[in-house]
Symmetry: D4
Subunit: 149 residues, 8 copies
């Protein structure tokens, strides 16, 4: 068994790197959204032409990013969604809902403070973790039947 994993959500800490590194040696391939914040915000106008109106500036970028996001989620067996300490992170919750409706196995990753606010999102998940290492442990267990020692 090989797993395709999409890493959605928070882009300000190195949780993706921790998971990718921790999963070395496992038969997992990872995808994620563009995590360069500036590029992600401006890709629409940088490629397709400037917009006077900030709303359409944002809209063009969000649409271009959706090409990558949809492909990443559609191809995934497991979608990990990380909620960080700051910001609204509505795109993370949107991805979780989108992945859930497609029947993907969801792992939600967040600190205990967010537990109540995320209860509907957590309820759609097969695992709720606090720590990237736990996600790695799940991937290892799923692929090799080995529990952390």
């Amino acid at each position: 068994m090989a797993l395709k994993v999409y890493l959605s959500g928070e882009i300000h800490t190195d949780w993706r790197e921790q998971i990718v590194e921790g999963a070395q040696g496992l038969d997992v391939s990872f995808n994620s959204p563009v995590t360069d914040h500036a590029a992600s915000d401006d890709c629409g106008v940088a490629i397709l032409g400037a917009e006077d109106n900030k709303y359409w500036h944002d809209h063009k970028g969000a649409m271009v990013n959706a090409i990558r996001t949809r492909k990443g989620i559609a191809d995934a067996d497991v979608v990990v969604v990380r909620f960080g300490e700051k910001y609204k992170q509505w795109n993370a919750a949107f991805d979780a809902g989108y992945a859930s409706a497609l029947g993907k196995s969801l792992i939600i990753l967040h600190g205990p403070d967010h537990a109540h606010a995320l209860k509907e999102v957590d309820a759609a998940a097969l695992a709720v973790a606090e720590d990237p290492k736990q996600v790695v442990d799940i991937l290892r267990y799923v692929l090799t039947s080995t529990l952390p020692s």
Copy 2:
């Protein structure tokens, strides 16, 4: 043509009532989540038995609420998702993603301050409105070809 509309999201203002009232006379039927906050939080333990652990208290409730939410979205032609001024509202963004993956027509309703944070959600929508009256105007136009005078 008749439309089934699901009203998801913020539960602290009367936006649902405004839409339902405004749509009187149109061939629309509405569904929504349970909007009684306390009942929604406690339904799991009230019906299925108390939990010592707050996480499982919340989880049981979120699962029971999902019976209604999933049915409401699955049956809908149009899903309206309202983001209010306060709170994380991750369940609203989750519903938007869930509805989007099912191919529902999405209308997102929020004030201009949230535009940047909601750009990925808005990008999945067929309309982005600021005011419940605009949602009513859309429903009227879709059903009767009549624009607001």
Copy 3:
């Protein structure tokens, strides 16, 4: 909102009647398998001709019963599966898996003794109840936002 509910599983106690009666006044319609044990076992040969071989006798009946079972589950919004104290009840677990793969909202109903043996089945459910009254309470809450007093 109206709910279509399929009542699968154990046929030796009156749990279906308790739920149907308890749900009076709610906008619910119920379906269930044939609960006449003898008819259910013999329907295949009674209609389509006798079989010398017990295996094919059973097989013909199981196939005819599947016409009703599949239709009942396919049409349902909510599938309730009851595991009783006795018998293997593999058809109940089969129905739960079938309904789960179709994305139906599952409610599993069983006594605490079966909790460990049913953990994979319960894990696919939105609610796990011990008592038919709890199923009624869930249906009432989902349809009317009212908790048991």
Copy 4:
């Protein structure tokens, strides 16, 4: 033609090894659930943290195991479900129902004593075998048109 086969069910005898060994030389790849009973029971709490309540202990494990089970069944062309002599084995019947609803080719493997109790499950199958060697013979025939001599 190559076949992906998922081996679900009983974990106390070496039936999986018999099939995998017997199928050597055929273009078949096998997947199965975690068959280490203790690891399978405890994976949830071992990775995601202890639970006081036995129900949630089990639940967390069952959810983590579902990541592997769902992937294994979703990827499979053929799902073999083995019912042993002992235990309730409701997860096996659940997997059979789940696989059936996804349109997988089912092979059910059990002794003659279980025939009546499994008649609904058998009725969803394309083959009912008593012996792992028969499963190997089916795979060989399907892939090479060769019957056992």
Copy 5:
């Protein structure tokens, strides 16, 4: 429970009338292809203009008939396919395959002489009957749990 039944296949005997009459009082609605052989052959050219070439004459008619056939099968819960004594009846077998791939409950109706030639078709069915009365008995049993006396 109400059943929608599509009656496909042989058009030269009164088997449809026998079933419809026998099912009076049951909650069943029936659909069938156009059974007027001449109209069915000529509908394409009669409506859309003559063709010199017999192949396209037939083609235009078959396409127009497909509007009805596809709708009838898509809407059905149960598809009954009758094979008579004469003719190739490839459209009947095509309908059976089409219905099978859509997951419809199939009942195949034919005399014992055709059993070997129809074995692949029968293998996709939930019931194989020889007599229209048996189809009625199945419908009655599925809807009312009553076996023929």
Copy 6:
């Protein structure tokens, strides 16, 4: 049998009225896009606010119209697409492709001059008509087995 028919395409002649009138007495219900050209062009800005940029003016309107168009096609059994003498009519061809991918029964309506340019669209259809009366004749035949006299 009752048919739901969506009438897509050209909005400058009375072909829809001819079909609706001709189909009186048949069990058909019709839907169509908004056919008021000005309202259809301006609905986005009239409801959701003006745009300086003509492109976004058009875009907002096209998105709002899509709520009606998608619902109309999704609900339909038969989609009739009319290509008139003038204009690009790319939305008509888009609707035909959209309906085709959803498996709807397509009827294409156009004059003989367009036959070569529409050959790929016609190839996806079950009928190609030149005259609204032919569409009525098809609907009558599909529903009542009656050919035009």
Copy 7:
């Protein structure tokens, strides 16, 4: 572009070999049912145990063969169905219907004598050929844009 092609139907002439040979050098992979008539008839009982009743003898074999047939059709981009001069060949027509409902590209291969009897089957096809060489020519054109010289 690479094509997966399933060759269904008649097993008494060498049409499959002609197509496979003719397509050498093209990026095509072929699958087909078991074409050893005796093995195909007896596989069920040879592997799973003898049956006294000829009907169940046939049934067991047809079910085992369905494992291969369903996989072959499900994996295919193009399904070629050949109708020969003799026999009922209902399994060929069944495969055509099954493939059609799954949205596969169908090529039907038969002599002109069968045109009228196969008109509904042909109407579901993208090409109707008389000669295996024409099937090869289609595959070459689809993959390389080259017409036969």
Copy 8:
């Protein structure tokens, strides 16, 4: 991440070559329809036999071309549809609608003069470009997070 891209539409300029060349070094594979106009028009009759009637001449060709077109779109992650300056190009708009209903990421490529006529098609797209280089820039950004400098 690797992308499969289908290049639909206009066949009279070298826009496909520009995109394929520009995307060298990226993990993209391209498909497209047959772009040899004469071969595309005549493939049906060249392979399957001449037709007297121009309509059926065209029809046979369009059907054979559909084998390639459907496969190309079904396999694609991204469908680019180019509208040129001339001709009706209804097949391009049809492909856009077909791809949209399958949930493919659409990029529409056209000059500003066509913006109003294409507004419904553009509204279904994730990007609207004027220049093949912009399509390359999107593919590079989606795959490598790099914006054009």
